[in-house]
């Protein structure tokens, strides 16, 4: 039997019309997993079912499924008398718009696994599936890893449809597009690429799809899987994509011409292409006054340098270039270090490693014992270590300040990069002093200049030079003055607002 599809093409169905046979087919593929629910509908006088409804437990909304079953009952009763059951009328009458026809085994199995509800009707060789998603999901909550004082408190959840809706709620434009890919042979994870047509660089969008299509793996469990598959260079400590759990950050970046990649099952959305200095901007910068935002950006850059270079500079100066230290400070430093047994390099490495251990313990351990770690950590790293003469007080200050500065960087992926590189610098400083630090800074800089994120130079706007991009990197200029989107990222449609925007009404009030 052939049926007509919506497009008018004749399509052969490969499913049997006997409902029990179809069910056997399905069960052969899915096994007898305990989470598969099979509901047989039959007349009281007849033991063989006229319809079967099949879905996974916990992934569907039971209320809606029950509603659908009663619709099916009504439909079958109505049609039983005049015997006019057909796929078309079923699709239209039972759940208009939601029910889709399925004509082969593979699609049927996949529909069940995707969480859809599959309906089999005796006498029809076409199965039907409805997306009646439900079940337990985390609600939209405040993001935990990227908090702000002012601005939206919404965070992404693990459900991709909710996440897309959160973005769509902020950008109600017809040009905002989401295109899906299913990646992962086993996990079959839904990955959605969002961009604004006409603002995002079409080459970048094309490149993203090309790289996503090239992924052939069994599983995608988090957006970091995608990140590692599609990044430009693996040999880099620096992230070439931002991950955020803030819908407002994604919306803002989409409007600047970037592309977002959403992955089902994780609240972290990837944004690309990004440049190095983007990691020092927080979405909150745009919600605060521009002067304080500019100041905060400079503070963050300063913190980056502190987190990267402070311990190594301290080692270099105290070990090799003591003449740089003002005399009074030098005397007090020398007095402190007199009793400590270790050279500055070993002392710093020891303290930094201790800190990293405590930090990792703080992340891993159960919440209830949390306070214990802070007490022990503060005592071990602080007072006790100094009093016992193991480390100098100055070193404790250096390590603590470095650790705090590390937390100022708004994106965790960038601060992790700094954490690793810092150790390299400490060893260089311990062996060659300031000369060694310079010998570390230059290769780092070359690497940054040579790095690309989807064809965009990573070290923009410092090199290659772009003054227009600097307006929104080192500074945060007021919105009425930010007339253009940044260079490179968006090559088309650069203008953001008209020249007169936000100017005229104020003049009139002046008198």
């Amino acid at each position: 039997m052939t049926t007509k599809t919506l497009h008018g093409q004749e399509q052969q169905s490969s499913l049997p019309s006997e409902v029990m046979q179809t069910l056997a087919l399905l069960q052969r593929r899915l096994g007898h997993s305990s989470d598969i629910s099979i509901r047989k509908l039959n007349w009281p006088e007849d033991s063989s079912p006229f319809a079967i409804v099949c879905h996974l437990n916990g992934l569907v909304d039971d209320k809606e499924v029950n509603q659908m079953i009663s619709n099916i009952n009504q439909y079958v009763i109505a049609k039983r008398e005049n015997d006019g059951m057909s796929v078309e009328s079923l699709l239209q009458e039972v759940l208009p718009g939601k029910l889709k026809a399925i004509r082969d085994e593979e699609a049927m199995v996949q529909a069940v696994l995707d969480g859809r509800t599959v309906v089999l009707i005796d006498g029809l060789d076409t199965a039907m599936a409805a997306s009646l998603l439900g079940g337990e999901r985390r609600s939209v909550e405040e993001p935990t890893s990227q908090t702000v004082i002012r601005g939206s408190k919404e965070g992404f959840t693990e459900d991709i449809s909710t996440n897309i809706a959160l973005i769509r709620r902020k950008i109600r434009s017809a040009d905002l597009r989401f295109e899906d890919r299913i990646i992962g042979r086993v996990t079959r994870t839904r990955v959605s690429v969002g961009y604004i047509q006409g603002i995002a660089n079409p080459n970048v969008v094309q490149e993203v799809f090309a790289r996503l299509d090239a992924i052939d793996t069994d599983s995608i469990l988090e957006s970091s899987y995608i990140e590692e598959f599609i990044q430009d260079s693996e040999l880099t400590p620096f992230p070439t994509m931002i991950n955020t759990e803030r819908p407002d950050a994604v919306a803002g970046n989409l409007l600047e011409g970037q592309v977002a990649i959403l992955v089902d099952g994780t609240p972290f959305v990837l944004i690309l292409p990004v440049t190095f200095f983007r990691f020092f901007l927080s979405s909150e910068d745009y919600y605060q006054r521009y002067d304080i935002s500019t100041f905060l950006r400079l503070i963050r850059l300063f913190s980056f340098f502190v987190a990267l270079l402070l311990p190594s500079t301290y080692i270099a100066v105290t070990t090799f270039q003591q003449e740089m230290i003002p005399t009074t400070l030098l005397i007090s430093l020398a007095a402190q270090r007199e009793g400590t047994p270790l050279p500055a390099l070993a002392e710093a490495l020891l303290m930094e490693l201790t800190f990293e251990v405590i930090r990792e313990a703080g992340v891993r351990m159960p919440r209830v014992v949390g306070p214990a770690i802070s007490i022990v950590g503060a005592l071990v790293l602080g007072q006790a270590a100094v009093q016992a003469g193991l480390v100098s007080a100055a070193m404790v200050i250096i390590v603590s300040f470095t650790a705090i500065a590390n937390f100022v960087i708004p994106y965790f992926s960038m601060s992790s990069a700094v954490r690793i590189i810092r150790f390299g610098f400490m060893i260089l400083a311990g062996t060659f002093g300031l000369y060694g630090i310079l010998a570390g800074v230059i290769p780092l800089l070359v690497h940054l200049v040579a790095l690309r994120s989807f064809g965009i130079p990573y070290f923009l706007p410092a090199s290659p030079l772009s003054f227009s991009n600097m307006k929104d990197v080192f500074l945060r200029i007021p919105w009425p003055k930010a007339k253009y989107r940044p260079d490179y990222v968006s090559e088309i449609n650069k203008r953001r607002q008209s020249d007169s925007s936000g100017e005229n009404p104020k003049e009139k009030l002046g008198d």
């Binding site: 080459n203 090799f320 270039q321 003449e323 740089m324 003002p326 060659f432 002093g433 300031l434 000369y435 060694g436 310079l438 010998a439 230059i442 290769p443 800089l445 070359v446 940054l448 200049v449 040579a450 690309r452 064809g455 965009i456 130079p457 070290f459 410092a462 090199s463 290659p464 030079l465 490179y488 090559e491």
Partner: protein, 364 residues
């Protein structure tokens, strides 16, 4: 995307770093004593004539770099010989600057570490930068230029602010007539640093837009020459002509004299790092030039020659037994006897050949 080609800003940045390079390290025009500034200006003016010739050479065939010009205009074998000669010259210049860098490091920072180790570390860092090729080298210059500009501005401001300049050191002007001044300027100052611009014939063809390039380039030349003259003269104005002439690294002594608020006392240690940047980039640009030449003549890839050229630079920077010998070879041997041919005679020959062939072509 327009990130694939170098931009004028990158050329300008690298030219500034290149010219500042090792120039500020020494007191240039010491023979002219307090009139060093006059010698510098004369040197810059004469150097400008040479730079005009280089620029003319580039303009006549803006698509080819120096090595391609040699083989295209001077024939296969002479071109190949000259390419090798110039690649060796660039590599040798790189090694000289590398030695300067290492000597400075040993003098100011690490006086107990063997030169061998310091040189090894420096060539590793610079070789790693050269590995990425000319395009990234030029972009890198741009990234570091702000650091250099801010440091030199701060230095000049601090010296002026502390009232360290004593203009009476500049008197008497032309104590012994123009003789010593001209002698100091020709050929030494013309040749170093100004005629080294020759290297940029390798980099000019990498730049995407040529429209504004000439104007910005000559403007940069003027400003750099002026700044170098001022920084050079600061040595005289702070230390006096006799002391400036005697010091190995006079500018470092000047920086050491700056004391701000009893906190910043030994700024020279930090300033050494800025000098390292200038020197290192000079090494890098010469290095990349040499590798470009060798890969041009051998017809093989660029990356294959980074390590061999690096080894050559490393080895030849260690040939001088001590710094005095290094300086003697630099000034009395190569600068006075070899460089006039390399920086003036051969480029002029190339220019003339190109000029007449072009004229002939236009006539026919």
């Amino acid at each position: 995307m327009h990130a694939r080609q170098n931009r004028v800003s990158e050329l300008i940045a690298s030219y500034i770093l290149f010219e500042i390079g090792s120039t500020t390290l020494f007191f240039i025009g010491a023979k002219a004593k307090q009139d060093a500034w006059l010698a510098m200006l004369i040197g810059a003016a004469l150097g400008f004539v040479l730079v005009l010739f280089y620029w003319g050479t580039y303009l006549m065939d803006p698509k080819r770099n120096l090595f391609q010009l040699f083989s295209h205009y001077l024939g296969k074998w002479p071109g190949a010989m000259l390419t090798i000669l110039y690649a060796v010259y660039f590599a040798y210049e790189a090694s000289r600057n590398l030695r300067d860098l290492v000597e400075l490091a040993a003098f100011a920072l690490l006086n107990r570490t063997p030169l061998f180790i310091l040189t090894l570390l420096a060539i590793l860092v610079i070789g790693n930068s050269a590995r990425y090729g000319a395009r990234i080298a030029l972009q890198l210059c741009l990234a570091l230029l702000p650091v250099v500009i801010v440091s030199y501005s701060a230095l000049i401001l601090a010296i002026i602010g502390k009232g360290m300049l004593r203009f009476e050191y500049m008197l008497p002007v032309l104590e012994q007539g123009m003789g010593p001044v001209v002698q100091a300027a020709v050929p030494e100052i013309v040749s170093f640093p100004f005629a080294q611009t020759l290297l940029f014939l390798v980099y000019f063809p990498l730049i995407s837009s040529t429209k504004k390039m000439g104007k910005s380039f000559f403007l940069t030349y003027g400003i750099v020459a002026l700044v170098l003259t001022i920084v050079n003269q600061i040595n005289v104005l702070v230390l006096g002509p006799t002391l400036a002439e005697m010091m190995t690294f006079p500018l470092l002594e000047v920086v050491q004299l700056i004391e701000l608020a009893e906190v910043f006392e030994r700024m020279d240690v930090l300033f050494v790092l800025v000098l390292f940047i200038g020197l290192g980039f000079k090494v890098l640009l010469f290095y990349v030039g040499a590798v470009t030449g060798i890969s041009e003549i051998s017809g093989t890839g660029y990356k294959r020659w980074v390590i061999p050229v690096g080894l050559f630079i490393f080895a030849s920077s260690l040939t001088s037994p001590n710094f005095s010998h290094h300086m003697w070879v630099g000034i009395d041997v190569v600068l006075n006897q070899v460089y006039p041919y390399i920086q003036m005679a051969i480029p002029l020959l190339l220019f003339l050949v190109m000029f007449f062939r072009r004229k002939k072509r236009l006539q026919s």
